[in-house]
């Protein structure tokens, strides 16, 4: 009941606004304001944005982002339906209130279009991360003139491109034991460093841990720096998540998290449906979805193979029959990137992208054109 409900909520905001006739970039279309970063305080602007120099750290309700309640949010209690109540008569009806999707005690951080993420103080872990946007507070903060929040759907809306979602139980392991086994984590607080990025501190059992979240070396990656006070052996293990260890010594662990999701969300409804695929749209998607981070257009080697001349080229795979790249293969690589991994590359690096049909076709048009 819970999963389907929250997922539905999360995906109904999937909208693709950017391809309206004028063909604005995401940033222009979303009309983000950088007022917070410039002014240093929250204004009437409903879509506040920080910057790399002036991150915005905002305690708020957030959507769950479709993360697993069972594994990712085990320290939360479960809400239930409740009989509707008439304030006039004091009576209950047979109809019921249904809970809504939301996580109540989080810290949402925005560094401008580079990175947004949500760190939860109840679970003491990252919930998800995204680029190209932050939170639309309109339904919660209400309009300047009316002051009215939306009565039942006021959880701030997430907009931008989600590239990471928490998977499985708490990923931090202390001396080979997961935090999930050691005991409910207790959030202690956070400090802002010289770079104004927060480092979160929490306790689990007798261990004191701090973790700093910062942008990774390339777009759609994250860097986590864990420190423990008693030189424990720290590891990070999470299903369906590629990480790269940057540094590890007793009491320290630095990792890079690779994208494991791909989902564009917009706070604006209703969604704009693209009817006709074009090469232009594909080219834009190449940038906005972040393909550019791993796939070069000039033959340069990166996390993923270059797109230059890929169409019609021979491909060899780690554990699949070789083939000649055609439209079907390109589509499969975007829709089910785990299906085949090109020889010489790491498996599972590419997240899965959920797009409209015309968007897949636009991307294929674009990739075919890269010669």
């Amino acid at each position: 009941m819970i999963k389907s409900h929250s997922k539905k909520l999360f995906f109904t905001v999937l909208a693709l606004h950017m391809y309206s006739s004028a063909f604005h970039s995401v940033h222009a279309q979303e009309k983000p304001s950088t007022v917070y970063a410039e002014k240093g305080y929250l204004t009437f602007d409903q879509k506040p944005l920080g910057s790399l120099e002036k991150p915005l750290v905002l305690r708020t309700y957030v959507p769950s982002g479709g993360v697993s309640h069972k594994y990712v949010l085990p320290n939360h209690s479960q809400g239930s339906n409740s009989p509707r109540y008439s304030a006039g008569s004091g009576k209950e009806s047979t109809k019921e209130y249904e809970p809504i999707d939301g996580v109540p005690a989080t810290i949402a951080v925005n560094l401008g279009k580079t990175l947004s993420y949500v760190w939860d103080t109840t679970e003491c872990r990252l919930l998800y991360a995204w680029t190209d946007g932050f939170l639309d507070m309109q339904n919660y903060w209400g309009g300047r003139a009316s002051g009215q929040r939306k009565r039942f759907g006021y959880v701030p809306k997430l907009y931008g491109f989600v590239f990471y979602k928490a998977q499985g139980v708490h990923p931090l392991r202390i001396n080979e034991k997961s935090i999930a086994e050691i005991g409910s984590p207790k959030y202690v607080g956070y400090s802002l460093g010289k770079d104004r990025l927060p480092s979160y501190e929490f306790k689990s059992g007798k261990h004191s841990i701090s973790v700093k979240v910062s942008p990774g070396p390339s777009t759609q990656t994250l860097r986590l720096d864990f420190t423990s006070t008693s030189n424990e052996n720290l590891d990070f293990k999470s299903p369906n998540t590629q990480i790269k260890q940057i540094q590890k010594k007793p009491g320290r662990l630095s990792i890079e998290i690779r994208p494991n999701a791909g989902e564009r969300l917009s706070s604006d409804e209703p969604k704009v449906v693209i009817k006709k695929p074009t090469l232009e749209i594909g080219k834009k998607l190449y940038t906005s979805l972040g393909c550019i981070a791993c796939h070069s257009l000039d033959g340069g080697k990166n996390h993923g193979p270059t797109l230059k001349g890929v169409y019609g080229a021979k491909r060899e795979f780690l554990s699949a029959q070789p083939l000649t790249v055609d439209e079907a293969y390109i589509r499969e690589s975007i829709q089910k990137p785990m299906a085949k991994t090109v020889k010489g590359y790491l498996a599972g690096m590419m997240p899965l992208y959920k797009l409209q049909e015309a968007e897949y076709e636009s991307l294929i048009l674009f990739i075919k054109s890269v010669r």
């Binding site: 929250l42 209690s77 479960q78 939301g102 005690a105 002051g147 039942f152 400090s191």
Partner: protein, 814 residues
Amino acid sequence: MKFNLLLFVGLHSLACASTSSYKIENMAFPDDMPPEVGGLAFDGDGNLYACLRRGDVLVTKPGKDPKSTQWKVFATGLHNPMGMELIGPGHVLVTQMAELTEIIDTDKDGVADRYNNLASNFGISGNYHETNSICRDGEGGYFIALGTASHNGPTFYTSRGKYSKDGRRGRNFSSNDLRGWVVRYHQNGKLTPFASGFRMHNGITRSPDGEIWCGDNQGDWRGGSPIYNVRPGSFNGHPSSLVWDPDLKGFGPPIFLPRKMLDDLHNQPAVQLHRTTMNSCGEPLIIESDQFGPFQGQMLVPDENARRITRVMLEKIDGAWQGASTLFLNTKELRAGGVRIAMDSSGKTIYYASTTRGWQSPDEGLQRITFNGKMPFHIKTFNLTTQGFIFDFTLPVADPEKLEKKLSVSSFCYEYGYRYGSSEKDKKDHKIISLTGKGPFEIKIDQLLPGRIYQIEFDDQLRSTSGASMDDLNAPAKVYYTLNRLKRPNSDRPATLTQTKDKIEVNIGGESFATYHFNRLAQPIVWPIQGPGDIRMLRDYPLKEGTAGEAKDHPHHRAMFIGQQGMNGANFWHNQNKNAGTVEHLKVIETRSGEDRALIQTLNAWKDSGGKIIGADTRTLTFSGDETAHVLDLELNMHATNEDLIFEEFKDGFVGIRTHPDLRLTPSPKHGVKKVYGNARNSEGGEGKGIWGKRADWVHYYGTIEGKQAGIAFMSHPSNLTRKGEKSWWHARDYGLISANPFAPEKIGGDGEYRLPRGQSLKLRYRFVFHRGPAKDAKIGERFSVFAMDPGHPTSIMPGHPGYPEDYLSQKKK
């Protein structure tokens, strides 16, 4: 970290308005900043901190010109912060939605860089309404007011802290751990529950004398807008939060508990603010300064829904705070939605913060109100006397001898229940008996009854000798006095209580009277009971064995006890039987002591032999007395909490005592009682053994106890239920058992079985007179007439008025 941003103010119009005594000025904010102020506090250096509900904490040093106020951002990103306390410059505590947060500027550059979670071990459901506020506890810790959720918003699938389905019911609700409570964050970092029963205490204050005060919002279970003196362990009227009270486990959803039970548990508000003076209370402020006009020591309460500030004059009567309220300022120049007030160090100026986001059109900001030294004309003091009130004005009144013609007195009650607010019930106009004095004035009126609110209204034409009118503050000359308790007459017989973990001993006039035992047996009992002159009135056995001259019959006759042989299949009379139920003491609701009487009020659960709760009682025992008699009043409210409560018809019930063996009418040599000295009579002229099974207002056992003349009268109040509409049926035995039984079998002349429907309560009142001296001197008949007129413990449940949950539960059954 260097980030000092001075905020310059936009081109807001900054009109300044004034009364002739108080100047009102608007503090400027940048035009694009939503000045939704949730918390306000000064540090020791005169810096004013304001937290805004979108998340910023600002700081300024207020100057002469409010238009050039420059704000600096101290901290950012808090979630709807509604409470703030200053530790020192650059060191702030804030209550935001999810936690109590300590915010520190560790590198002293003016901007916070450290945010510590001091407390988050309370629930949050995700509902927008669950805001928190804070005040100091005077011992290095803090009290936190945890607001409830509203049915005008949702809860989340994934919430924090324990979730309760039962707490989720109703209008304002407490679905998650400790919502609707005041909790205490101790200096050692522990968080403990302190008081329950709040609907939406938006603001909490500690007065200089260490008392804790919360206002609450109008609404369900709130007749007016109440101001509570928050006492430890108290339940403050709104039921939802009781799901988190371990003592009330097993009673089901608290909003369906019998209203009378909730009313008895209710720590009555010190003051009920009338709707013409208050819609919803913001945070109270006690005026500590003598520079803010003539109102030092009084309380100001801003109105979240209007442009006015109410003034409260409190006094302690019979051990509890109550008092009068009137408007302080009522002007369009004030912004709507006043939530917080802070006073600066000059003591001449208060800062008045308002926010309305979420409940009305935005009209927010910060204003300051400064006393200019010119005495305003209004009511300065207002206190209760034994027959009326004594009051005074801030300036001498013109024509004081004509004042009586310029005022009227009326009174009303507020009803307690699920409804949003209450109209004025049972309105009465009062006769003025006399009005004397030239200031202060003393007024005597025809009747003062606890549980009522007295309205004293002065004529518009009232002027000071200097010609000043009250129009200047636009605060009509109207006072509301919340009369919870009467001023008790002076007496030289102080009543004292000594409470230990399982009993409370009552002394009166330095003499031992009685001991209430509540954790020792299968039910709470009173034993021993002494009359004046230390005369032992009841049998010791079985509570104490070996007392000379006592028979060991009927070991279930335990001194003074309550029970029925059959209630929902359980036996509460014969405590050794297999199906014996237990009456479990849950809590002492309240004790009072004072000049002339002591009072004990407790809550008890009635459980069957399997431990299942079948009902509850709240009982009030009042102890008073003089040199001739000790008087114990029992008000017993039986509550059908979980199911219909069936009082089956048995002769053995319901409130009983077992007298001293000397008061027996007949000896029992086989039990070792050889000689007896007792006689018995009843109100109807019956005598001796003949009073058994008869109906009467009272029965009286009298004679000689251990050589001294003495007696016990047991009276049943005329309001007590008897199904047949007759006087009480008495199970009064020659061997010294006396019990009043409203459920005796019909075939022996009793009233038969009684079914109390779920959600309802049954009130039974008895008076016991333990006297010394001869029976004729005890004047039992006269004493009964006095008892019959006694209104008993005040109640906020209006009889004959359809109410929840009684109606609802009975309709649901159909």
